[in-house]
Symmetry: C2
Subunit: 321 residues, 2 copies
């Protein structure tokens, strides 16, 4: 019988689990709020519950799983330590150890955007070097080369969202200035929305569309709606974000010459058809040499919302091999 694995996506808001076979075919799902305020042990207990829920939905026993893959919002050391997850409030927590004990299964954890890129690499049949850029609340990225996640000599790198893209630019949540994430993420969009609507008093449908979160974290589906209603403020902010993603993609092509750059995350899942041509145009303007740009495919990611959870399945499978 083919192996069945669990893939866990631990985020600041929610935990998502898929149960899948080796080819990424999903057999069942689970989802819970992550409630990071309950501390590391509290979140680990919720991961266990979510895995068990997904197993129930898939009709498999947890003990029948071959392995568990985990994507978490932190650099992860080879021993499974999550070094720093700001949204979770974690510093140097033993993520792999805690989960493998709780679940009684071989467990393999990696950075969420790294496994997201790894999933695209595996299930979309990529080869060579693949760069993943995921635009959601933040801007995460990953680099996979010849089937191996590239996180640098000290397992802390691949932080594409924190490249300085504008020297002395906008403040980023990380404390630096001018990071890509400060321009090309929902956080960056919020900055532009407030500037346009509050300071420059521009007309926009956004204030009427958004609910409790206000302009700080507009749902991707609402961004889509505002775009489709030809809202100038929304379109200008998204076009600007696409341009900066293109600059980053251009730099990554100049430096790394990947075979492909894939664009994912909530904003891209909702608006990729509109944004992809803009990202390509900007990447072409900024990549060197031109031949390197022409050799790199810039495409939308294929796994959508499941990118991290399915990527975690692919990662766990690769570690079992």
């Amino acid at each position: 019988m083919a192996a069945v694995l669990a893939g866990v996506d631990i985020g600041g808001t929610k935990i998502s689990v898929v149960i899948a076979d080796e080819s990424g075919h999903v057999l069942g799902r689970g989802r819970r709020k992550s409630k990071p305020e309950r501390g590391f042990a509290g979140v680990m207990a919720r991961v266990q519950e979510t895995v068990d829920e997904a197993c129930m939905n898939a009709g498999v026993l947890r003990s029948a799983l071959s392995a568990v893959g985990v994507g978490a919002p932190s650099p992860i050391l080879p021993d499974g330590t999550a070094v720093s997850a700001v949204n979770m409030g974690w510093t140097n927590v033993p993520l792999t150890e805690a989960l493998s004990e709780l679940l009684g299964l071989p467990t393999f954890a990696e950075n969420d955007c790294n496994v997201g890129t790894f999933g695209e690499y595996t299930f979309a049949g990529r080869s060579g070097t693949l760069v993943g850029l995921f635009m959601g609340t933040g801007l995460g990225g990953g680099i996979v080369k010849n089937g191996v996640i590239q996180s640098g000599d000290h397992f802390l790198a691949g932080e594409i969202g924190h490249m300085t893209i504008v020297p002395d630019g906008r403040p980023c949540g990380c404390g630096k200035l001018g990071c890509l994430e400060a321009y090309a993420s929902k956080t960056g969009l919020a900055y532009e929305f407030k500037q346009a609507i509050w300071l420059e008093k521009k007309a926009s449908v956004l204030p009427d569309l958004v609910d409790e979160g206000g302009l700080d974290n507009v749902k991707s589906s609402l961004l889509r709606r505002a775009w489709d209603e030809r809202d100038d403020v929304t379109r200008a902010a998204l076009k600007r974000a696409a341009r900066y993603i293109g600059i980053a993609a251009g730099n990554l092509i100049t430096l790394l010459g990947p075979s492909a750059v894939v664009l994912g995350g909530g904003v891209m899942d909702a608006l990729g058809d509109e944004l992809l041509p803009l990202v390509r145009k900007s990447a072409e303007e900024h990549a060197f040499p031109a031949a390197s740009y022409r050799s790199t495919a810039i495409e939308l990611a294929s796994l959508g919302d499941d990118a991290v959870a399915l990527g975690a399945v692919a990662y766990a499978r690769s570690r079992m091999a």
Copy 2:
């Protein structure tokens, strides 16, 4: 008997050759103007003469050499084609084939800054990932990981000098805007010197120091002299260049997490003691996360003027192995 090799550095102005043993001990040298106006065949003939001159000085027969390594200012494909060398006027020339026929020896060509970085990796006993940044007339770079030059899936990448460092910034000789090279190279310094001296009418010792080349290509030794004379224009331009190199180094640390970044090239050879602390400070400000910066050594290159020629020796040796 240990192998003896030739290392050839082909530049827009001069050809330099070293004859060296496997540990990089130099036995003899040759040097000639490259005269690119004589065309590809003309330059190849001059390379042959320079190799023969270096063999004479080393007291070895050309036929006794094990191999020839070549660093040239172009991306080089695996078949030895030099894709595009703007300073030489070459497009898709069969560099390796031409030289191996002329010299009657196994010949291995690579991009000059790639072999420069490879030489630092080999002879300075580096491991893991090494990034090399060479500041001279231009700003060249290379990435070596676990002893392998990283030039991307299509052998065109690693062009660190053409990362966009300032969106919509200064024009670069490559036709793009805001490349690192437009800020951190002698070309970038010339821009600042002219701005300060011609437009802003600032006082400077530079116009009296420079000879025929004017402000466009001030010799590194004269930059050193002007720095030592506390020339404000010179110091401000060099400090600014060091800051931009630090931004690039910070981005490379954020993305690739190398064990070391080494700084070489004529300007660094002359002024590295003054510029290194400034580059480090700027890299620390711009790298993410902080732990990644602390895990990366930022140091001056050790091979000086011989970086490319000795790097070519190391590269040829590695290809023979």
